[in-house]
């Protein structure tokens, strides 16, 4: 019985290897279809996959308003301290103090594009953009302030 299993194992192993080799052999002989993109040549017609993640951006609408409440959920969710939220206190119409976003500091050079901050955000204020040409000569340029100057929180977002 041991011998039968032994020989069966050999034939099963050889067969599975041959199946794999047939697959790659097929690709080798039919190299018409190319799955990679010829990047610098097709810059205009670049077709990125839907789930490709390039960098974190704060979504602003046409009135220069965003949905970030400064709750720091993204900062807490980030595994390598990529995000730093600086908050300030606004005075509301009723004269109350209210916590609001001052600076959304984003260190692109530390970011691993893990998407945890986007999942953590309760108001869907941030998203992953698909830009990927991030090379710069000075790493200081990779530390970005994501909220645009003069932007404020959209009304009704708590």
């Amino acid at each position: 019985m041991f011998i039968v299993n032994y020989i069966k194992n050999i034939f099963k192993g050889v067969k599975s290897l041959l199946v794999g080799m047939r697959r790659t052999g097929y690709y080798f002989t039919h190299h018409k279809e190319i799955i990679t993109q010829q990047y610098p040549d097709n810059k205009e017609t670049l077709n990125l996959p839907e789930r490709f993640k390039g960098e974190v951006v704060l979504i602003h609408d046409e009135n220069n308003e965003h949905a970030c409440t400064g709750c720091t959920a993204c900062e807490l969710a980030c595994p390598n301290a990529t995000i730093k939220i600086v908050t300030k206190f606004d005075i509301t119409a009723e004269g109350k103090k209210k916590k609001a976003l001052d600076k959304f500091v984003y260190h692109l050079e530390l970011c691993t594009m893990c998407n945890l901050c986007i999942i953590a955000c309760p108001t869907d204020a941030i998203k992953m953009d698909q830009t990927f040409e991030h090379s710069v000569f000075d790493r200081k340029e990779l530390t970005k302030i994501l909220n645009k100057p003069g932007s404020k929180i959209r009304d009704g977002v708590e």
């Binding site: 290897l17 080799m21 697959r23 690709y27 080798f28 799955i35």
Partner: protein
Amino acid sequence: MWSFSNIADSIQNWLNQTFSATWSLVMQMLIAGIAVISLFAILGLVLVLMERKVSAWMQIRLGPNRVGPKGILQTLADTLKLLVKEGLTPAGADKILFNLAPVLALVIGMLLMAPIAFAKDFQLWNLNIGVLYISAVSSVMVISILMAGWASNNKYSLMGAMRSGAQIVSYELSAGLSILTIVVLCGSLNIPDIIYSQADGWWIFKGHIPAIISFVIFIIAVTAETNRAPFDLAEAESELTAGFHTEYSGMKFALFFLAEYVNVFIVCAIGATLFLGGWMPFHIGQWESFNRVMDYIPSSIWFFGKTFFLIFLIMWFRWTFPRLRIDQLLNLEWKYLLPISMINLLLVTVIAILGWHF
């Protein structure tokens, strides 16, 4: 007719007539050395480009296509880059061993080139124990890897080197046993004798199923011996960064890289010599007219064609199969390849004694 052996003979005659016997010998040695080194350089360029193209086509990519027409100058550009890079020696490393290891790896490749017959009657050194010499010298290969791993003073290097040692020592056995089947069949260790014994058909056809089994085992074992995927545990990019050559850079790394490809070429040349008849054209028994037509193709083209076919096969393995774990690797050798090749050797011995082969 134009052939490698004629050229070699005429050079030797000219040297013997022009210089004294001693100087003629010295110059012949120099020419042989230069020829081997330039063969190495060409092999490095061609095989690396071939590997990159084959891998690209198997993975539905294009591969190198920017430098030169269709990317054929890519490896030349890479070589230039490696030549101008700094060859760093780490401060904690054993300096002598660290710098000696890559040279040793290449020297062993050169030693292995000596008994290989590249064309009809064209060989650097015709010694009567050629096959034994090859299997003896190729097992020294492990020393250069162990030396590199030990001298680097780095845990990844050491682990890669130790794995490589375990691997080469175990797979040497089944490679040796499968070489032995052909030695048993033709009754000689001399490489020209082995090739001439295949004049009426290659051993892979003449030796029935046992020859095919030993050919398969030989290919698996030499893939493991040259540390190529799926047996590349010595390097294992994802776990050990680069294994034994983690600390090497510049030209010293390039020597290891070159030695890997030269070793692939050598083991494939040996496989082609033993199982596919070396430079012997494709002959079928006593079909005189068919054999004569095949003889019109030069013997060097037959040799390099077969060798590159086997190299392609090994590249095909590399880009198809996933890497084995260390326990699976040793299981495969000690539980499967070694018992099978031992029984196979017994079978071949019976066939050879009773004269059942063609």
